[in-house]
């Protein structure tokens, strides 16, 4: 069945305000990190956040692991664990009291030209000051090959004010894209 959808896309529209695009950064040149800041104003009124990303590192390898820190906290205040497949095996790990959260593997400079990795990270209750903030990321890059599901925990009840994503040993390549979305609770 063939469904031409140009008409529907042109005439349709989103239900107002439950899942909103808050900010997007598309790199026109490589840079060390991407930061979404001033979340107390940028994401005011939202219950949860989501970051959707398509990225590549400049490191001379086929893949690199991107990391995340929040509120400029580089102390050993993060736990994270993951389940991943490499195309030949599956494995899991758990790390406590770390200085960052691992997001997963993305393509790097030696991967096929034009190949990137992708990830979708959900950040739950980032502004609730009675809870630690939790993160869940599905990410992968066929070029590595690597598919991962990771969880992270920031052991601080402070509301999030910033989220920094980086590849700690090199830069994030031009063409990479990071988009921040807010999800509202019901009225």
């Amino acid at each position: 069945m063939l469904i031409p959808i140009g008409f529907f896309a042109a005439s349709g529209g989103a239900a107002a305000g439950s899942y909103d695009l808050l900010a997007t950064e598309i790199l026109t040149s490589s840079q060390a990190s991407v930061t979404f800041s001033s979340l107390d104003t940028l994401a005011a009124g939202y219950q949860h956040l989501q970051i959707r990303m398509v990225a590549r590192a400049t490191f001379s390898n086929v893949e690199r692991t991107f990391i995340c820190r929040v509120n400029s906290d580089s102390g050993n205040n993060y736990d994270h664990h993951g389940l991943f497949g490499t195309g030949s095996s599956v494995a899991s790990y758990a790390s406590t009291s770390q200085a960052k959260i691992d997001l997963g593997s993305f393509a790097a400079n030696n991967a096929a030209l034009g190949a990137f990795g992708a990830g979708v990270m959900d950040i739950l209750d980032p502004f609730e000051t009675s809870k630690y903030t939790t993160f869940r990321t599905l990410s992968g890059a066929q070029t590595t090959p690597h598919i991962t599901l990771r969880s992270g925990l920031w052991m601080n009840t402070a509301a999030l004010t910033s989220i920094e994503i980086s590849e700690p040993t090199s830069n994030i390549a031009a063409g990479s894209r990071f988009s921040l979305y807010g999800l509202k609770a019901s009225a």
């Binding site: 140009g6 598309i26 959707r52 398509v54 497949g85 195309g87 030949s88 034009g114 890059a141």
Partner: protein, 158 residues
Amino acid sequence: MPTPTYTAIATITLASTDSEIVFSSIPATYRDLVLVVKPIVSTTAFGQIRFNGVSTSSYSWVYAYGDSGGAGSVASSNTFIDANAMNTNFQGIYQIMDYSATDKHKTVLHRTGDLTANYVVMQASRFASTAAITSINFFVTSNTFNARTTLSLYGIEA
């Protein structure tokens, strides 16, 4: 200024059996697409995806799975993306990232599971083309989709 997004582009519910469903003329309005698949099949069917009608060896993937026999991981390539085997209780969500970008290959992240075949899968796939995706062919082999099979396509702005 927040921009409401996650727009329902099209939903197809089959009125009769079919082996292929095509979304065509996909506008470049959005940045990501999300394809939600809830099929009805009588016995095992093997789901496959092609973009822009491309049937050359432009597709590759890596997945990790868990089933009643254990867990494992597979990497492969073919003339389509393996959308995973479907049985009577399958569900799948496919995130087609940066589909409208013309400076990169296309990455698809998906999660599927089937409660009859007793497995769960997470997968990353690559369509080695920098062309914007304007059509999606979702088809099955070894079987057909039954009536009431539903595929829904959503667009997310960035």
